[in-house]
Amino acid sequence: MQFSSYRTEGFYDEMFQEDGTARPHFQLVEEIIQSLSDGQLLRYKHAAERLLLQLGITFNVYGDTAGTERIFPFDLIPRIIPAHEWDRIERGLKQRIHALNAFIDDIYHEQKILKDGAIPAEVVTSAVSYRKQCHGLNPPWGVWCHVTGTDLVRDSDGEYYVLEDNLRVPSGVSYVLENREVLKRIFPGVFEGLSVRPVNGYPSHLLEMLESLAPHPSGPPRVVVLTPGIYNSAYFEHSFLAQQMGVQLVEGRDLVVSGGDVFTRTTQGLERVDVIYRRVDDDFLDPQEFRADSMLGVPGLMAAYRAGRVALANAPGNGVADDKVIYAYVPDMIRYYEGEEPILPNVPTYLCWRDTDRKYVLENLGKLVVKAANESGGYGMLVGPHSTAAQREEFAVRIQADPRNYIAQPTLALSRVPTIVEDHFEGRHVDLRPYVLCGKDIYVLPGGLTRVAMRKGSLVVNSSQGGGSKDTWVLAAPASVPKGGRQQ
């Protein structure tokens, strides 16, 4: 398969420059792919699909027939990020996570930032995800966002923008690890001559961070992963992470609170738990405090957490900073808490509760992307240029009825990467979700999940909406490559 007929069509292409030549960090990969015999790449593609199916790396789609599992489409052409570009992303993410943690801790304590007027107070108190139950809590090191999956996008200028912070229960990291394993197994030759930074250290970093949260210093910390169960769309990831860390995967019904502590129900009675990496939303965590109808949670868990008997990651209440209206103020938070200019810019955002912004949004629905403030996963969203008049009308009504709940952003021309479509390459839009772990220190997994909008022209990369993914390579800085060639 050749790139000769491939066109960038005016978009920022991760692999090719406007003149049609490959960017320097992509040249080796281009040569390797073009040197393959006819049909070889498609054979690799089919082998990868078979492997994913056999490995059972599948997800469930909500609203689909019960028990239907799909593989997450995987494209063989990697997305490559050169060392200097990554270095800036990493610094930008660390700065941002640091400020977000400071913000959440402040909001649940003195609210200095509101008193100083750096952010309007009503923006915070009106957020659905602001949990008054969390006021005055002191999670270890003042950290509320232990695992973050920040969404970055690149516009036509090639600049990286932060699209969303995803502080609550971000998913997808298992695909980062599995994509790398699959590509190494199916198409090892493509790695030849490059030093790609490994990603398989993630579970160790995650375990170390989780163990560091244990409230009882004596004895080895007992960590569990809490999943909503096998019908959750991210169940594969929950079991994968538990398996990779060697900890138990539990459901709400496996846990019980007794005498103020949290226990697992085992064949030998109750065993105390110190740290819960919970992949259950705040709303479902504890029917005594949040949604009373939750079957997924553990009655009394929040009381145990508040009493410092068990640690929860991510900390309940951190979703306040995930609110898309509050997102718009993250650059102000960085200036306020860090005394620095943001390294990674936000996407310009119109807040519909501001009269001037709302007026602009309503007049320009066809150009903008409109999002509900408290939704994720590509739900509750209007992509203006791809919308029908009826959809725009529906959103106009919704915005006017509840302006606080809507924001709008310009439709970005997301960058593209060549992707195998039938028997040739076509450009497909991508985003990038790096994963950040925050305990005592901040760790950024090199790379992250590159999600691909597999449908031609589509800008929606969510797996629930037909998105796929690519292996994401961060190249090692030349100085860090050990003598004698690349690392195995």
Binding site: L55, R222, S239, V247, D254, R265, T266, T267, G269
Partner: protein
């Protein structure tokens, strides 16, 4: 086992049933295969006897209600692919996979992959309008199940979860051996006119083959004789599908789980299992046959059901919280 992290009750339950379902699928595949093979050896008139094979899985009533008279086609459909038959190969493999999926972090990845591969094989096969020939299909299922046991043995620590899989597997195997013996003995014995004919030999050989025991029986006893076959399948100390052997290993698995020495007990399941094991250790085939094989099989199946209930109560059920918590 007390030094390692104890298993979640839910996980113990799931791996126990994972073991049972894989074993059940393999047994059904073997019964089908051997019976199909036997039918080819028998003259017309004998050769349409497909009902007994349904009886060995204990689903006679369900089958008659749904299908009526037994033919090769409907029995194969019922036992291999019928999603509404909870004991069909399809349903067993599906249930095994659902259990495996819920404990993927507990079993090894290799094991999960093999269970998943078997599932993909069965679902592909169940969608075909014209199934692959029966012997090939049964062979694939049996080998797929053997592979799971092999992978289980060499990729998973022989920890509590492993012992629960073994416990489930062995109890299921014990159950199936008594069932096939019960059904076949009942059918074969009354046909006195056949005694000594080639068909008698062929039929009894088929019973042995149903539990992969033909060659091992030959080595042990040589000539085909019903009493010796009963002795071999119920009381042999070395044959891995004999009833006594299965109960002996299940008993050891149970003690490995609790840490209680064999020969003593700390819970109801250990007590019941221990009583059954020692009964078999000191049993004689003559006494069993004199009192009636069918009665014996009925009685031990009731005992195994009780053991299963006790295991459920001792390990899987959610017990009251008071005074049980240990930090």
């Amino acid at each position: 086992m007390a030094h390692t992290k104890p298993l979640l009750s839910r996980v113990a339950d799931a791996v126990y049933w994972l073991g049972r379902y894989i074993e059940r699928a393999e047994n059904v595949a073997r019964f089908l295969d051997v019976h199909h093979n036997l039918m080819l050896d028998l003259p017309q008139g004998y050769a349409d006897q497909w009902q007994p094979i349904v009886d060995t899985t204990g689903d006679r009533a369900v089958f008659l209600e749904r299908y009526g008279a037994a033919t090769q086609d409907n029995v194969v459909r019922f036992l291999a692919f019928d999603p509404e038959n909870a004991n069909s190969i399809y349903s067993c493999v599906l249930a095994a996979r659902e259990n495996a999926r819920s404990v993927r972090e507990t079993i090894s990845s290799e094991m999960w992959q093999q269970i998943n591969s078997l599932y993909l094989l069965i679902t592909a096969e169940s969608r075909r309008s014209e199934p692959t020939d029966l012997p090939t299909f049964c062979h694939q299922v049996r080998m797929g199940c053997h592979l799971i046991h092999g992978i289980l043995h060499v990729t998973m620590s022989h920890n509590e979860a492993w012992q629960f899989i073994r416990l489930g597997t062995l109890l299921e195997r014990a159950d199936k051996t008594t069932r096939i013996l019960d059904v076949k003995y009942f059918i074969l014995l009354p046909s006195v006119s056949d005694v000594g004919t080639p068909y008698d030999d062929v039929q009894w050989s088929a019973v042995l083959k149903s539990v992969s025991g033909f060659e091992m029986y030959r080595k042990r006893y040589g000539r085909i004789a019903p009493d010796r076959i009963v002795e071999f399948l119920l009381l042999d100390g070395d044959f891995p599908r004999s009833f006594r052997y299965c109960i002996g290993i299940a008993d050891r698995a149970l003690h490995a789980i609790t840490g209680t020495p064999v020969g003593t007990f700390s819970c109801a399941s250990e007590q019941r299992m221990g009583v059954l094991r020692s009964e078999l250790d000191f049993a004689s085939v003559e006494a069993i046959l004199a009192a009636g094989l069918h009665e014996f099989c009925d009685a031990v199946q009731t005992k195994m059901n009780t053991i299963d209930e006790c295991i459920n109560g001792d390990f899987f059920a959610q017990r009251p919280l008071v005074s049980e918590a240990r930090a």
